[in-house]
């Protein structure tokens, strides 16, 4: 286990280096003169030259990459271009916490629900319950987040007035108020993921159900409930962990859209702000943090999978 974790950690570090290079290279494709963009059209040539010097724009880009990377390793992601004086790392830390709350709430909400529906469908293969759940999950995975968010806002905040349609977190609001503003974003974010998890759980339950050892358990006279709980579900839920891990990437992508729709102050909306304002340090920092978080969560899921699977525990 220790060996597995350390090898995976090493490969994550290597991949992160490559990813940081790719992020930097992509951000260099931004057209136009950054100094001109920051100072505006009326800037004097002296001021422009001074800013270029300060930002290191006179250096070759490889040198700038290394300087940026050095900063990243020290936890310094530079200053925001559009909000001078604001450190990108501070802004990121603040928004990362908000995104974690959103993604965490969605995960906690999705997993039990999706597992339940998936198992129900799998155990009732091809009858009405299965059909209904299967159709529902196709719908869930086919609705892009911005579409489901729009529908949910129309129904729950415009027609019924139950939940607010924007969730600018207001720390002065009561706990219940803050919770209410989270309901719609969490539900939107959960929809696609729960569809995938339910489908995979169903497939996995059906596959396990057909295994010889299940027939053996039935033939030796175990009650249906015993067979299902301690043989079918136990084995069927394993692959589901992988599916959940694989779909964390989906959750991260969904975050950008959901945060934009609900004006939620997370990493995704920060990245979009950076892109709209062409704030290069902000774009680079946000992208790097999102990629790093994505990889760490994938590793966590791999570790959980190994812990759950006795065949891999020793390796």
């Amino acid at each position: 286990m220790l060996r597995f974790v350390s090898i995976r950690l090493l490969s994550i570090v290597a991949t992160l280096f490559a990813a940081s290079f790719l992020i930097f290279a992509i951000s260099q494709l931004l057209p136009g003169d950054v100094a001109q963009m920051v100072l505006g059209q009326n800037a004097t040539p002296e001021a422009l030259a001074q800013l270029r010097l300060k930002m290191g724009l006179d250096q070759p880009w490889l040198a700038r990459y290394l300087a940026w990377l050095g900063g990243v390793l020290r936890g310094d992601l530079g200053e925001s271009l559009m909000a001078p004086g604001v450190m990108v790392s501070q802004q990121l830390a603040l928004n990362a916490r908000a995104s974690l709350v959103l993604a965490g709430a969605a995960t906690v909400f999705v997993i039990p629900l999706a597992l339940l529906f998936g198992c129900l469908a799998g155990l009732n293969q091809d009858n009405h319950i299965d059909r209904l759940i299967s159709i529902m999950s196709i719908f869930a995975i086919s609705l892009p987040e911005f579409v489901s968010a729009t529908f949910l806002i129309i129904i729950f905040s415009l027609k019924l007035g139950l939940f607010p349609s924007a969730s600018l977190i207001d720390t002065s609001a009561s706990i219940i108020g803050q919770f209410r503003s989270l309901v719609l974003p969490v539900f939107t974010l959960s929809l696609v993921l729960s569809g995938y998890v339910a489908r995979m759980t169903r497939a996995s339950v059906i596959e396990t159900n057909g295994q010889p050892y299940i027939r053996a358990a039935v033939l030796k006279g175990l009650s249906r409930r015993r067979v299902i709980v301690s043989h079918v579900l136990r084995n069927a839920l394993l692959p589901t962990v992988t599916v959940i891990a694989m779909n964390i990437g989906w959750l991260v992508g969904g975050l950008v859209v959901v945060e934009t729709v609900f004006s939620y102050p997370g990493l995704g909306s920060l990245l979009m702000t950076g892109i709209i304002q062409r704030d290069v340090p902000l774009i680079q920092g946000a992208a790097l943090v999102i990629v790093a978080g994505y990889m760490v969560f994938n590793l966590l899921a791999d570790i959980i999978y190994r812990l759950l699977n006795p065949r891999l525990r020793g390796g």
């Binding site: 991949t15 992160l16 490559a18 990813a19 790719l22 992020i23 992509i26 951000s27 494709l29 931004l30 057209p31 196709i138 719908f139 995975i141 086919s142 609705l143 892009p144 987040e145 911005f146 579409v147 729009t150 529908f151 806002i153 129309i154 415009l158 990437g249 989906w250 991260v252 992508g253 969904g254 950008v256 859209v257 934009t260 729709v261 990245l271 979009m272 892109i275 774009i283 992208a287 999102i290 990629v291 994505y294 990889m295």
Partner: protein, 281 residues
């Protein structure tokens, strides 16, 4: 080629046995028809402003209402269908072509080629797909061609992985050895011996990527990074009219229904393909 046609015919006849697959095929065919009609004819000009009749509710004049510039929503959905389908189809095709080329070489050659190609794919896959697309389009600039390229690049590592896995299963077969002993070149073996034997998984992969591509390009359109106004892209339509959701909900509901129904159709079709392919093994 005769083999390919026979396979497609057989798949089609078996597809018609599955209700869900048939439903998916019907939905996709319906949207293809709408796209074709919308390309040549729409009830109103999808781009023409008509400020006098802005925000009209669905009625006999405008079946699906009008938007903030008085443009007919039905006409815009109809003429947008061609963009949406063309964008997703070409994106998925690029992903499939690139991914197949990379997966074939990696799986067949093995060794260092495999290592280098697949590590590069790993780096691309370390980005959540939407994030990579946003980064590239946000810096390179949006637009039809860029979106198609980005969709292709974002999805090609996932195709490459599947193709590589299937190639590794086919590679030890005797007919591959026979071809090698006949002295055929690597490229000939890859294209003539291996490729025809992985068409099943490729078909499944294409249908799955097609669904994802619609989803991704619609999300990009919504974020303002897809095709640019005044193109009647469905995601963009929702973005443009989102602020008027209270006065004119139809301006966002109908494009939303259009996207969802198309993705549902393609997903149903992809499911049916997957079942067909797994039944073959």
């Amino acid at each position: 080629m005769g083999h390919l046609a026979a396979t497609i015919r057989e798949w089609f006849s078996r597809l018609c046995d599955s209700k869900a697959g048939l439903a998916g095929l019907a939905i996709l065919a319906a949207w293809l028809l709408v796209a074709l009609v919308g390309y040549f004819w729409t009830p109103y000009d999808p781009l023409a402003f008509d400020v006098a009749s802005r925000f009209q509710a669905p009625g006999p004049d405008h079946w699906l209402g009008t938007d903030k510039f008085g443009r007919d929503v039905l006409s815009r959905i109809m003429s947008g269908a061609a963009y949406v389908l063309l964008l997703a189809l070409s994106g998925a095709l690029i992903a499939l072509t690139l991914g197949t080329a990379i997966g074939l070489s990696a799986g067949y050659r093995g060794g260092l080629t495999d290592e280098i190609l697949m590590r590069a794919m790993d780096v691309l896959m370390s980005f959540p797909s939407l994030l990579l697309a946003i980064l590239v389009l946000g810096t390179l600039g949006a637009g039809f061609l860029n979106v198609v390229l980005v969709v292709g690049i974002v999805f090609c590592p996932r195709v490459a992985r599947v193709v590589r896995g299937t190639v590794m299963e086919v590679k030890p077969c005797e007919f591959v050895d026979a071809a090698r002993l006949r002295g055929e070149t690597d490229i000939a073996i890859m294209l003539r011996e291996i490729l025809p034997n992985i068409l099943g998984p490729l078909g499944v992969e294409f249908s799955v990527r097609f669904a994802y591509a619609i989803f991704l390009s619609a999300s990009l359109g919504f974020l303002g990074l897809g095709v640019q106004p005044p193109t009647p892209d469905w995601g963009l339509m929702i973005n443009e009219n989102r602020g008027f959701i209270v006065v004119a909900p139809w301006t966002v509901v109908f494009p939303g229904l259009a996207i969802s129904s198309l993705v549902i159709g393609v997903n149903l079709l992809a499911d049916a393909f997957r079942q067909l392919a797994s039944g073959e093994v």
